[in-house]
Symmetry: D2
Subunit: 337 residues, 4 copies
């Protein structure tokens, strides 16, 4: 039984994580923390947890957390996360960090995009990037896993097989994503106020979304050379679900069947990737840890549709998948129901 804790447990990734962990046979949830909601029962904070877990939110120091758990899932915002993660690691806990703090490996890039000095630059680059479909081996041996962003997960899973097969140009990549509103977090803001975002769609952060350097970094690492791309996120009126349309310039002559074959082979041993000729709807993968992928040849381009649940395969499900690998537990435990 692995003792785990949820650090920053008032948000959507936290409640999702708890629902998954309650199904996990090898885990005991020892604690859940919050600074602002100390002593509040988890089941009041999240009505879904009523009668399902008896735990009050606690305001704990990293050392206190590390004493009581083997592994911490850190759901704090970026910048707030690194100092806590760092202290918990120092105190001997393993950590899956769901924030952006350990995803980028270069402190300057972090500073440029997040507009703040990285709080723990020395540890940058030491975390495993928690995309098991590509970096399983690193995750297995890691005490710190940087859980990927939701947009990067959809984009990288869509592009990596083509890129590693040399099937596409590296300098002509367009990633157009559509996300549900839960990706914006649980803190009320005008942009996510129901009458503002319901019955509406918009593009945001055009050319300057913080997931851009993350996608670039991972694709460049895979390519062994600099990759360039444009990324545009769109907010659409649904709770959860994310769909990414990637436009790639083909180098070879792959037709639809060959593309399917290429993707299926690439993800042969990946239980959560479903490659299909049918164009996926996010509805099919929402509330599961699956990522659905469908590649298409269109003229001299390849269009790849990929989708998943931003809170599960894009966050908390991936976190548990990583946790399983870190602890030598079967990768799908707690995630296939």
């Amino acid at each position: 039984m692995v003792r785990v804790g949820i650090v920053g447990a008032t948000g959507y990734t936290a409640v999702e994580l708890i629902e998954i962990l309650l199904r996990h046979p090898d885990v005991k949830i020892e604690l859940a923390t919050s600074r602002s909601e100390e002593n509040r029962p988890l089941s009041i904070e999240h009505g879904r947890l009523r009668n399902r877990i008896e735990l009050n939110l606690e305001d704990l120091s990293p050392a206190e957390i590390a004493e009581r758990v083997d592994c911490a899932f850190c759901c704090l915002p970026h910048a707030a996360s690194a100092p806590v993660v760092s202290a918990m690691l120092d105190a001997g806990a393993k950590v899956v960090d769901l924030s952006a703090d350990y995803r980028l490996t270069d402190a300057d890039v972090y500073k440029h995009w997040y507009e703040i000095e990285h709080p723990d630059p020395d540890r940058l680059g030491t975390a495993a990037y928690g995309l098991p479909e590509l970096f399983r081996d690193e995750i297995v041996n890691s005490a710190l896993v940087a859980n990927p962003g939701c947009f990067p997960t959809t984009a990288i899973l869509a592009i990596a097989p083509l890129l590693m097969a040399g099937a596409i140009e590296l300098a002509d990549i367009i990633v157009d994503s559509k996300t549900g509103v839960s990706g914006g977090g649980r803190k009320p803001k005008l942009s996510f106020h129901f009458p503002e975002c319901n019955e509406s769609v918009l593009a945001y952060n055009v050319g300057r979304h913080r997931h851009t350097p993350e996608i670039k970094q991972v694709l460049s690492r895979l390519a062994g050379t600099e990759v360039d791309l444009i990324f545009t996120p769109h907010l659409i009126p649904m709770d959860r679900g994310m769909l990414t349309t990637s436009y790639l310039r083909a180098k070879g002559q792959h037709n639809d069947d060959q593309l399917l074959e290429l993707f299926r082979e690439f993800y042969d041993r990946c239980p959560f990737i479903r490659v299909s000729p049918q164009l996926p709807a996010t509805k099919d993968s929402v509330r599961t840890n699956y990522c659905d992928i469908s590649p298409r040849r269109v003229g001299d381009r390849i269009v790849v549709i990929s989708c998943l649940d931003n809170l599960i395969k894009g966050a908390s499900g991936a976190a548990v998948q990583n946790f399983n690998l870190m602890y030598g537990i079967s990768e799908t435990t707690g995630l296939l129901s």
Copy 2:
């Protein structure tokens, strides 16, 4: 040309009002006020108004407003509204007040339900209650109209014809309402955060919603004696629209046809009431000033379905309808397109 101003112009009733007034041939919008957003162009605050109106939000005193307009539409929250309304009236302006401040006629009832001393108790009872279908004559002669609440509008319009015909018991009235989220205002709150209220329905303020005494007061006035009722509002995942199901105990033998006839006669000269044997959907009246009503006999009860757009017939459309009456303009001007 009547010069008008919008006091408190950052919310949903304000933008709705402006869209209606832009269509109104006899009105000139002179000003729009806001304390917090001073100098911000209206068309930035409300993207829908882009290219349609050149006006910056201003922070103005009641006296300054009264100097520049003939009539002010006051969209401030309750308690904040009365002092401003009072001062504008004193300075010679007419006012349509969309807040709750002048709807109740008894300062003690106001204090009990709104948990605050009324800021302008002496004027209580001097305002016309702005439901033209019932109180047209008072509105015509008034300098101050208290625009009704949205729930009360649906309930009173559904119940008044039966009550005034002596067709129902006065002590056995149940009003069950369903409203879209815009009724909760434009200020971000967790309850109205998209991922919280989307794909969900809940009852709120059971037995203690502030519109209860307003409905009671108006029905009691019409009945000439105390009326009692239960009112339960529900929040449903849509922008706008409101539907009320009223359960009344029949005193007579009215069947469906007789009920239709009774309602049609009652609302014979009311251009915005549509009585129909077809059960209405809110979609049919949303973005119009209509209220759809359909009465049904069920056993020893009469069930009346009434619906409207909470921001139009439930707020800003009614405000313009009242304004038209106050200024001797045809009642439907600006409201039938």
Copy 3:
């Protein structure tokens, strides 16, 4: 391992049932039938099942089904269900029938409300009514369970504790329900076409919905005398979730705390009933087998809010709960994750 089959597997209750049964450790899904979609893979018919089940839809006779399974979940429409259920029972299978065919015990009442002769009148009254919270003992010994309607489940669970405590009048019951669209089934109709029912709410079948006699029958049985009520369903723009507001006339002086206590005692051994002073949102119980209940005293009435997922506790989850009881499996198996 109990071998089960899904009869009529193209609809929403079927896919929901399959998702639950895939998590159930004591069940093997042997077959899934459809007349119109024979040979189609289940995972094509329902994209959510991709990679999760290898089964093609089959067109099978009741005898063929009964030969291959121990228990059949019958998801056919009313009137189509009874002949198939009857033949499967005769051939030795147990059946959980999700249709309305065996819920009513009186063939005349069935004919009056469903406007058709009952296809299997002799078996009427022999089925257990599948509400374990009230009829657990009957279900345990039954070969045929009539799974309750979703509206009746919410209404009966809200009213039964008060009725059996003698706390309410039997002739003054109003049930006002709000349901998501999936309750209307998967067959495309104009009423459920997205642009028709999105952003809208309506009441339907006022005074004549077919769940009315089912609620009456069960409450009358519990009361030992005839109970009368009005039931009004409303369609609201969400996938799933159902909330019922029941208005009862109090006979005693129960206050809020006493009501809570009464409900908590009544449902003491019911793992899927959550009684709470907090007004529930459907979001908290959606995709679970829980029913949330919150009673309130309002004047001389008691208002009870009850809600659940219409496809789970209102259909497929209840079906598995009943199945567990029929087979001596722990009641919550497969249903608590």
Copy 4:
């Protein structure tokens, strides 16, 4: 007073058209046709029209229509439209055709994409393409206007200014569109069944949507040479509204300010185009005839966001705008409220 008729009046574009025309001071709606719903009152077919128009649907021949109206708005599906349009023109009526039948100028292209022989090939190329912002002069003199598709309107308005300024490469154009569900019409289909498309997003007709050749044809005409592009539509869970993200390869060095200037000059005399540095939400233009456009420089590409209401500027509003031009009425009449 111009006498007009709506041919095929049961769909969403028809009801939208009628709502606009009811506001139009120079128009009298003489008739509305339907084969399947003959004699049904328009106000029953479309609940929104209750009390607003007294007209029954009629089943009329093209000759009968042409006798009673000056101008027909034809809202029939493609292939059904051309024979009726042709006959009405021959009988002397003017026509705005909202179908796809007269948009393409080449019968072979039509046959390739619509998989049917064009019913009236001789008239192909004689219709004005009803995008007043680009082809105002042709529309003014035309008896037949082919109203553009909704996707093409968003794409062409976004790309034309750059293309005509020589600011972009002609062979590297990606158009990624997101549309609400009403674009799919009013006929119930599983894809548009509420529980299927709510809370979900999907790409459809990747690489083979029928609006692709329409966009290509118009851009090629403007460029004076063949233009190539990829177009991908996505269905998102909202009633109406459409947003297009166009990715173009820059030829020059235009920065954001210069792009804004370029677009503003290009659309200087176009009352329904709103160019803005603020990224638009569809909510701001829904239920108006505006198209909002915001261009951005991102690396060596230009990203243009354009959006509008698919039923208004993308269909019925544009139809009335064209009608106004055909009849020498001010372009904005009936469209600015």
